[in-house]
């Protein structure tokens, strides 16, 4: 089948091979490690490159048509976060904290996954809409904020109910709970929006938009030509960290393992189809799907550890980085590409057929 071939050819790219290599290095307990300063710098560099590229594209193609995809992405991300929560809480029997933490981890987006996706498309000779970088930036905090809001609501409700059974429902207590939630939320909101990933991404988009192709020329070698090489180096470290996590995978339980594979697949294919309906290009639809499929494993712990400290971080880090990330870049990306090719390949009528067929 064509998908298998795509998976195989994807498997044999330097990015995936060095990721697998990193996993093996970790499994055989090698002391190989990319120094911290480098692996802290690379995401900043990758996001700057993505942002510049996106901004330049947006300058070329305009960004009027980005509003609908962005709103749809936000809506889908919120819906999916709620959906994850229900599945995790009801079917998975996770406690409320772990459920919200996991729900938002999978509702959020992964910048590294996005980078790999861009490289994948480049390799396939396909382009994507520049404004997707902006959607990446906007999508970053959405799921977290929802999850934290709901967690805090739930907690203060619990406290309220407890209180009620003791004393007789004290309004000031209730106010206090809501007040605290507000403080925490505004703090998380501020932290998310000023978080380095969003800041560098949005900044670079704006700068890319301002400078355009011509202004980009002098820094093109660093921010464009070196991009794939830089990802490769980062993927070694990602592989090593994922490899160290592999041992914990069994601890997260069979339910979460299944969730970490099935959920992204579902979200991703929904994303591809919705994007196609909205008129995004073949590559753009893949990237749109990837945004929804990806889970956050760098930003999530930084936000959630502070906002939902009761949640067990090894659950969400292990599943996002140890299972979903490899699955997404190795298997799901080619699948979504195949799906997008399929639904884009034929005329619009057939397209509609495909969608309705798959959609419901």
């Amino acid at each position: 089948m064509e998908i298998l071939q795509l998976i195989q050819s994807n498997l044999l790219t330097p990015i995936i091979l060095f990721f697998l290599f990193g996993i093996i290095a970790a499994r055989i307990k090698s002391d190989l490690k990319i120094p911290e300063a480098i692996s802290e710098f690379l995401p900043i560099y990758l996001l700057a490159a993505i942002g510049l590229h996106g901004g330049i594209e947006m300058r070329n193609t305009g960004f009027e048509n980005m509003l609908i995809p962005m709103l749809v992405a936000i809506g889908l991300s919120l819906l999916m976060t709620l959906n994850h929560y229900q599945i995790l809480r009801r079917l998975g029997k996770f406690n409320i904290f772990d459920s919200y933490a996991l729900a938002s981890t999978y509702g959020a987006v992964g910048a590294v996954t996005f980078s790999v996706g861009l490289s994948f498309l480049k390799n396939q000779g396909v382009t994507s809409e520049g404004y997707l970088a902006a959607i990446l930036a906007v999508l970053e905090p959405v799921a977290f904020i929802l999850a934290i809001f709901l967690t805090n609501m739930a907690v203060s409700k619990q406290i309220r109910q407890k209180k009620k059974s003791f004393t007789k429902g004290d309004a000031s207590d209730l106010d206090m709970g809501i007040q605290e939630t507000k403080t925490k939320l505004s703090q998380v909101l501020h932290e998310s929006v000023t978080g380095k990933a969003i800041v560098i991404l949005l900044g670079s988009i704006v700068i890319g938009y301002i400078i355009g192709e011509s202004g980009f020329d002098s820094i093109k070698i660093v921010f464009d030509e070196m991009f794939t090489g830089a990802i490769v180096i980062f993927m070694i470290e990602m592989g090593i960290i994922a490899g160290q996590r592999l041992g914990d995978v069994k601890k997260v339980g069979i339910f979460l393992i299944a969730f970490a594979v099935i959920m992204p697949t579902f979200n991703g294919i929904v994303g591809v189809l919705v994007a196609t309906v909205m008129g995004l290009s073949l590559g753009g639809s893949v990237m749109f799907g990837l945004l929804l499929a990806s889970a956050s494993f760098i930003a999530a712990p930084a936000v959630l550890r502070h906002a939902i400290p009761q949640a067990n971080p090894s659950l969400y880090i292990t599943s996002a980085l140890g299972i979903t990330f490899p699955y997404n870049i190795i298997v799901l990306l080619p699948i979504m590409f195949a799906v997008s090719t399929l639904v884009h390949g034929d005329g619009s009528i057939d397209l509609f057929n495909y969608i309705t067929k798959d959609w419901i």
């Binding site: 160290q244 996590r245 760098i298 712990p301 930084a302 550890r305 502070h306 400290p309």
Partner: protein, 100 residues
């Protein structure tokens, strides 16, 4: 040069909990401290191998005995359950008590 005894409070915890610790210190009107990143092993496993987020940090605070109790109490109450953390106290002597 006379030396005066004060307390040195050391908190070794996961790096993402540093903010919580500093907040607690500030709440008790302490704005002077020293921090540095460390690796570690403990009840919550080896820390310091992967992402920087998964390192530990040491926060060291020299303070007077008066404030010590409350701070240790608040850290214990709010953080021991959910974070990789240890807290310990030792005696140190300083020249300028007015600084602490």
């Amino acid at each position: 040069m006379k030396l005066y005894t004060v307390k040195l409070l050391t908190i070794t915890c996961e790096i993402l909990a540093q903010k919580n610790i500093i907040e607690i210190l500030n709440k008790h009107e302490i704005n002077a401290y020293t921090t540095y990143e460390v690796d570690g092993n403990g009840a919550r496993g080896i820390r310091g191998q992967g992402f920087k987020n998964e390192k530990n940090v040491k926060v060291e605070v020299i303070l007077r005995e008066e404030k010590l109790q409350d701070i240790v109490e608040e850290i214990s109450r709010t953080m021991f359950a959910n974070f990789a953390i240890i807290v310990y106290v030792s005696d140190v002597s300083v020249v300028r008590t007015e600084k602490f």
